[in-house]
């Protein structure tokens, strides 16, 4: 991954077409730039003021034939480039005629959530089969985001209050960056994940396993590489989430603190801290309640009642966050049902317990 690249990987049906167009435009640009630089250097040397021998005549008249000819030539070239790029753009933006695999995508600060037709949900990861046209139906719950997969040469702004469709067909299995390309606030640069392009068979298997509670590492986008529980999630770059695809799962853990450590890693990799801040020095109030010391304490709810933050309540708040909302916070947390396995849920609760109470 750290090898020096000059050109991005291409993994969609359109990527190759966009690259050819881009390289053609670069070639024309280089020709123009070369002509301008060359002309300047050549004239600057030939007509330097110390060169009295150079032939000089004073030309005043507007050579309108030259100017009009230039305008005509540039118009033709421009219209050529415009047409090429426009036709390709229409191709990208037009719905495919055949059947598509539909996936719903929801963006919110600073999480991508995708839901497959089977009901399987994943966060900051998107699994798609190779060679099949996929339709993404995207919307945002808060501000404008942008769905960007460089390897697909595909970008689409995701707007609140509107559903936007994009289509693509992945052509090469592998794992590719998913970025948010429209600035959306604090953790904009961490709002990303991976698109996993799988062979159809693998995809079907993943879907079957993922839909039953996600005991496969892929359901979490492989973000298991955070062994240090205290790494603040705010500082996460997208690249730090790398892990080899299909990394072997660790054995079930028995010891309490080992479970808490796993919970901490999950807490970091799921970016929970982007809302549930763990640093007390934040300039502005966090979007979600602070979780340090919450375990076993009474919590005041929106409806005026009080509830004890015990294990059942915490589990409920992760799986069904809107059931009982803490006073003073908007009901914005996505549900992690179908995303976390029972094991992982226990690990998270163990981590919260370890934060004191």
């Amino acid at each position: 991954m750290n090898t020096l690249r000059f050109f991005p990987q291409g993994a969609s049906a359109e990527a190759g077409h966009v690259d050819v167009l881009f390289l053609a435009l670069v070639a024309v640009s280089l020709a123009f730039i070369g002509a301008v630089f060359g002309g300047i250097v050549y004239f600057a040397v030939k007509y330097r003021h110390t060169n009295l021998g150079a032939e000089r005549k004073h030309i005043f008249e507007d050579r309108w034939q030259l100017e009009v000819g230039l305008i005509g030539a540039l118009l033709v070239l421009s219209l050529g480039a415009f047409t090429w790029a426009g036709v390709l753009y229409i191709d990208i933006e037009t719905p495919p005629t055949g059947p598509t695999l539909d996936v719903q995508g929801v963006a919110k600060q600073w999480v991508w959530t995708f839901e497959h037709a089977t009901g399987a949900r994943e966060i900051n990861a998107l699994h798609v089969p190779v060679g099949q046209r996929v339709r993404l139906v995207l919307t945002s719950e808060d501000v404008i985001h942008s769905f960007y997969v460089p390897a697909f040469r595909l970008k689409q702004d995701v707007l609140p209050g509107r559903e936007t469709n994009v289509w693509f067909e992945a052509t090469v299995p592998g794992r590719y960056h998913l970025f948010c390309a429209e600035y959306c606030g604090t953790d904009h640069s961490a709002m990303g994940g991976w698109v996993d392009v799988m062979e159809p068979g693998d995809y079907a298997r993943w879907l079957a396993v993922g839909a039953t509670g996600g005991s496969d590492v892929g359901a979490l986008g492989g973000r298991y590489d955070q062994p240090t529980p205290d790494a603040p999630a705010v500082a996460l770059g997208p690249g730090r989430r790398e892990a080899p695809a299909g990394a072997p799962r660790t054995e079930p853990l028995v010891a309490e603190d080992a479970s808490a450590a796993r919970g901490a890693a999950l807490f970091a990799s799921l970016n929970c801290a982007s809302c549930h801040r763990t640093d007390s020095l934040a300039l502005y109030p966090a979007r979600g309640p602070a979780l340090v010391g919450v375990y076993g304490r009474p919590v005041r709810l929106q409806n005026g009642r009080t509830v004890l933050a015990d294990e059942p309540y915490l589990r409920e708040s992760i799986l069904n966050p809107r059931a009982r909302i803490v006073q003073g916070y908007p009901p914005i947390m996505p549900s992690y049902r179908d995303v976390l396995s029972d094991d992982e849920l226990s690990a998270l609760v163990a981590y919260l317990q370890s934060l004191g109470g």
Binding site: L52, L154, Y183, G239
Partner: protein, 564 residues
């Protein structure tokens, strides 16, 4: 004032001559001046300070980006840095830069009049600008703003918890300064031209200022209204842009870019005008295609209003709208190409002097062409779907704004420095700085094209490790660039005290501004000028060399060499 007024019959000796610099002393005489030349100096000080501030922010960002994680600053700090960098550079450096400094100083001198049409309005513009700037500085100092310079809704109206109010107020106020300056320039150009200064004898710099002023007058009110709407939503919850309140976020993008794309031409057009002046003077040749260069400025101003949607190809606007905006974006590039062609044609059969301003002019043309060609790549719809909001776009507009506009400003500043201050700057230092700026600039921004096409999104304080090598190159370049920008600051200030006297016309240049002493007297001209020549009459015998004795010396040298 203790000096006696100059008599029209017997001008006093040089030492006691009254200039705009010594015509009044004390802070009051500067802060309450209505002399366009003094106001230009005030603006120069202000925008230099803003440029320094914006530059330091850029350098801090480049330092953060040396490593992939967000480690030097918190991510919130980084977001505030790039927002403030953009806001300060766009509204408090690039937009006012050339018009309010060189334009303010030179417009009356170039058309042969005593001052702008509304001298007091000019001073008012300056103070409005200053108040706007102070609002923005206050915002930066007390908490900052994290919306980016584009203020996209609903983030800016319903989500950001930063100092949106102060900054929006600052830009709202500054907009009036821009409108009033534009108005002043247009009226001045129409009404105060000297006898014989017909429209087809107008210096090309004046033409470009005129076109710029038209955009300032027509486009800025749209920004003002947009900011009012933004404020209505943010503070009174009036639903205009936020869908949660029944608004449309795309509407904000349309309104914002309806100003901000023409604003790009507010920034670059005056630079194009400066380059036309430099190229012809240091080629000792009449400018090639005068009418086409002047006309292309107007064409850019007109077409510039019709391309704003090319910022929104992936926003969800209609495919057909995208097609129209794309084709118009190709068309708007043609007048710029015409200028480049005419500049190079001017060099042909010229007598070229590689002095500092000419080096800046050459650097400008090269960087402007790179910025322009990559602009066409960005205007190509299918490619823009990939490169939009990546470093490719960042590199593209920095080639125009910094490589273009700032280079033109520095070239113009060196060219007219002897006129403004009466002193010559040290040529060797000037050439060294110009070369260093060119090298540093390219090292900073060329790698950004590559990482942009690789997919590096902009406005990321933390990024994937495969982009690091390009970020390191870019930061190295920005270090060179930072040092290079300090050089002119040093030697230009040095020349104020130690530089040799320039005399009225050190370049043996045409143009009315060179017919009056340097620095000019308070009323610009000792007698009202009358224009009898075509512009840029460098073909005349006495204009062909920068130093009239040079021809003989060179011929003698050549003769003696051939004897050996």
């Amino acid at each position: 004032m203790t000096t006696t007024a100059p008599s029209p019959f017997a001008p006093p000796p040089e030492a006691t001559r009254t200039t705009y610099l010594n015509a009044g002393t004390g802070l009051r005489s500067w802060l309450l001046t209505t002399d366009h030349k003094r106001i230009a100096v005030l603006y120069t000080l202000a925008i230099t300070a803003f440029f320094g501030l914006g530059g330091v922010m850029a350098f801090l960002m480049r330092l953060e980006l040396l490593t992939p994680p967000s480690d030097l600053f918190t991510i919130d700090t980084y977001n505030r840095l790039f927002s403030a960098h953009g806001i300060v550079m766009v509204w408090f450096f690039l937009i006012p830069s050339i018009p309010t400094t060189l334009g303010n100083f030179l417009l009356p001198l170039m058309i042969g009049t005593r001052d702008l049409a509304f001298p007091r309005l000019n001073l008012l513009s300056f103070y409005i600008f200053l108040v706007g700037g102070l609002f923005t500085l206050a915002a930066v100092s007390f908490g900052g703003i994290d919306t980016g310079w584009t203020f996209y809704t609903p983030y800016s109206t319903s989500f950001s918890q930063t100092r949106v109010f102060l900054v929006v107020m600052g830009i709202f106020v500054m907009g009036f300064s821009s409108i009033l300056t534009g108005l002043n320039f247009v009226v001045t150009t129409h009404t105060l031209r000297a006898p014989g200064m017909t429209w087809n004898r107008l210096p090309l710099f004046v033409w470009s200022l005129y076109a710029t002023s038209l955009i300032q007058i027509l486009a800025t009110p749209v920004l003002t209204l947009t900011l009012v709407l933004l404020g209505m939503e943010r503070w009174f919850g009036v639903g205009i842009f936020d869908p949660a309140l029944g608004g449309d976020p795309i509407l904000f993008e349309h309104l914002f870019w309806f100003y901000s794309h023409p604003a790009v031409y507010i920034m670059i057009l005056p630079g194009l005008g400066v380059i036309s002046e430099l190229i012809t003077c240091f080629s000792r040749k009449h400018i090639f295609g005068y009418n086409w260069i002047a006309g292309s400025s107007l064409a850019i101003a007109a077409f510039g209003f019709l391309v704003w949607g090319h910022h929104m190809f992936v926003s969800g606007q209609s495919v057909y709208a995208g097609l129209v905006f794309s084709v118009l974006s190709f068309v708007v590039a043609i007048p710029s190409a015409i200028k480049v062609f005419n500049w190079i044609a001017t060099l042909y059969m010229g007598r070229i002097y590689l002095r500092t301003p000419m080096l800046y002019a050459f650097a400008f043309i090269g960087l402007f062409v790179i910025g322009g060609m990559t602009g066409l790549i960005v205007a190509s719809l299918a490619v823009d779907v990939h490169v939009h909001d990546t470093y490719f776009v960042v590199a593209h507009f920095h080639y125009i704004m910094v490589g273009g506009m700032l280079t033109a400003y520095l070239g113009g500043l060196h060219f007219w420095w002897p006129k403004i201050t009466g002193k010559l700057y040290p040529e060797g230092w000037g050439i060294a700085a110009a070369i260093l700026i060119f090298v540093g600039f390219n090292l900073t921004f060329l790698p950004q094209f590559i990482m942009g096409y690789l997919g590096m999104p902009r406005r990321y304080g933390a990024y994937a490790p495969e982009f690091q090598v390009y970020h390191v190159l870019s930061t190295a370049g920005s270090t060179v660039l930072g040092v290079a920008y300090l050089l002119p600051l040093g030697y230009l200030l040095w020349s104020l005290k130690y530089g040799p006297d320039a005399g009225p016309n050190p370049w043996n240049a045409t143009g009315l501004e060179w017919t009056t002493p340097s620095p000019p007297p308070p009323d610009n001209f000792d007698e009202a000028p009358v224009v009898r020549d075509m512009p840029y009459a460098y073909h005349l015998e006495h204009r062909q060399f920068m130093d009239p004795d040079e021809a003989g010396a060179l011929a003698a040298k050549k003769a003696s060499r051939s004897e050996d």
